[in-house]
Symmetry: C2
Subunit: 336 residues, 2 copies
């Protein structure tokens, strides 16, 4: 606990695949400063521990500096991480010796942000795809999140791969003609399937870029392309299946749960969101689908505030909304 | 043309992904020697040209040495290659200045081997998946062969990936329980899904090993596992779709074509071969499915013999069968 006479503060960190972000806030939800950091991913690969140290240290110290506050003032910190939870917690504990530090898998902070710390299920569909649900009594369930080889059905990467396959199927005459044959090479500044094939296999187009094809598929669907529309409907069915698996494992098919959606795939519009909502409501009619209210970093902030004894009243939420940096809003769209 | 008084000879080379093989034979089909060589793949990657040179030179010279013959005696040579056809042809032409050298994509030599140089369609399903068809008038069509990212539906790799996904789906409760959850980790000497996940993502299990899961899926199917049976039925449908696309593009749906199957996937047994044959005969009732008669290297030999003016009589085929080295038979099973 802080031994300072300054007002107590909380810290929230989102340690992400492509970047990290920390927020420092008062216990009534006024965000005093935000701090960026590098990626906190792949801890067990070469350079991983040092990368994690920099991501945690840079973002925490930058947020404190932006807030004009000192480490001693932080009483509670919550970290949302894609991995290396224990290591991240130890690093931040070292920086904030007076604070109570907790770290969670980022699906937990994503749900907290999406639902304003209420029970429900969050479906995160970016480069990967995962669903996480939690009830008031603390029961929780996770489905998906197995990565691009062993899973991620319904993810942006999965949609991108299926778009590439739709193009080769069309070229063979195995599949229907599709606008994707023209739009996908164009998206990468290429003019032919041959160039696209060469770029894919010499890894000039990486997994994140393949996942970005989700937007191209959405554009083709909105122009009436039947192949693209089917790809998105299939992805929506896979994502609904993730959510329904979690709802079922939590025993809430009949009672229903609030389902929150977030990530780039859902931003591709109604060709995902409509079949997704229909599939959820067909199997669990009492469940309702909503867009996520806040990004995972705000979910971490909610959990830190609750740990500090704060109730998330309308006033606290208004304070957060009024002081939320643009970076914490846009972080949601690059979520993976 | 050879200017020697020795009897004229032909050379056949199969330049493969994992190894190469050359055969030297008399013009009546007696194989005098076989020569192994390294892989001839990925010409455009670092070390590719030198790897191709070694594969072509080593196998050709080893076959000549095993046969106790000299390069001057070769009048006709045919190469079946997975790529770099022109470069391979130039390399062999350099070794055999007196010979007429031709190179083909290995789907062409695979069909020639499978059908004893008759018209038809060959479906090659190993690590990858491709169908190639050719009519008497020289019209040809190819479908599939797009590689593990953009295609290869129905291949061993595709079956392996779907087996991994079936396991994660079962673990989540998204999919039905399956024997694969136990058999797949076992196959890699691992004891849990967690260990399997770690091994896959640190690339300790490569694409060829993933493709080898096809045998594990076949074993599970033969023990009555419904998930495994469905995986193989889906792969069979994809492979039949490749063949039927080629038959359709050649205008032979009604007239029918002979369809030849080869590669490790078809060796996994009736759970592939039966739904495959049913799907072909449902859409093209006059078509007939056969196992490939010979490996691609023998297809290259057939084409070299025909180029040298030899007719593939029963006597010539008997000569080939009597002198075919075991290596040329087993080469078929590792075909990809």
């Amino acid at each position: 606990m802080a031994t300072t006479s300054h007002p107590p503060l909380v810290l929230a960190v989102d340690g992400g695949q492509s970047s990290s972000l920390a927020l420092v806030a008062t216990t009534d939800g006024q965000i005093l400063g935000a701090g960026p950091g590098g990626p906190a991913n792949h801890y067990h690969e070469p350079g991983g521990p040092e990368r994690l140290r920099r991501a945690m240290t840079d973002s925490t110290l930058a947020a404190l500096e932006a807030a004009g506050q000192t480490p001693e003032q932080i009483t509670h910190a919550v970290l949302g991480m894609t991995g290396a939870m224990e290591q991240a917690q130890a690093l931040v504990q070292e920086l904030l010796p007076h604070a109570s530090v907790h770290s969670y898998h980022d699906s937990v902070t994503a749900l907290a942000g999406a639902s304003v710390a209420r029970p429900g299920v969050v479906v995160i569909a970016g480069t990967g795809a995962v669903a996480y649900g939690r009830l008031t009594d603390g029961r929780e369930a996770l489905a998906g999140g197995w990565g691009y080889i062993m899973g991620d059905e319904g993810s942006g990467h999965d949609i991108g791969i299926n778009a590439l396959r739709a193009i080769t199927q069309a070229a063979d005459g195995r599949g229907a003609p599709t606008l994707l044959s023209e739009l996908v090479p164009q998206h990468f500044g290429l003019t032919s399937l041959k160039e696209l094939h060469a770029a894919i296999y010499r890894s000039a187009i990486d997994r994140t870029q393949i996942a970005s094809l989700c937007r191209v598929v959405a554009a083709a669907a909105s122009r009436g392309d039947a192949v693209a529309t089917t790809l998105l409907a299939n992805a929506a069915a896979d994502l609904a299946h993730l959510a329904l698996t979690v709802i079922e494992r939590l025993g809430q098919i009949d009672a229903g749960l609030d389902v929150y959606t977030t990530g780039g795939v859902f931003q591709s519009g109604r060709f995902i969101s409509e079949p997704f909502a229909r599939a959820i409501e067909r199997r669990s009619p009492a469940s309702r689908v909503h867009e996520a209210a806040f990004a995972p970093v705000v979910g971490a902030l909610f959990l830190a505030l609750q740990a500090a004894g704060t109730t998330l009243t309308d006033e606290v939420l208004a304070n957060i909304r009024a002081t939320l940096p643009r970076r914490a809003i846009s972080k949601q769209s690059e979520q993976d």
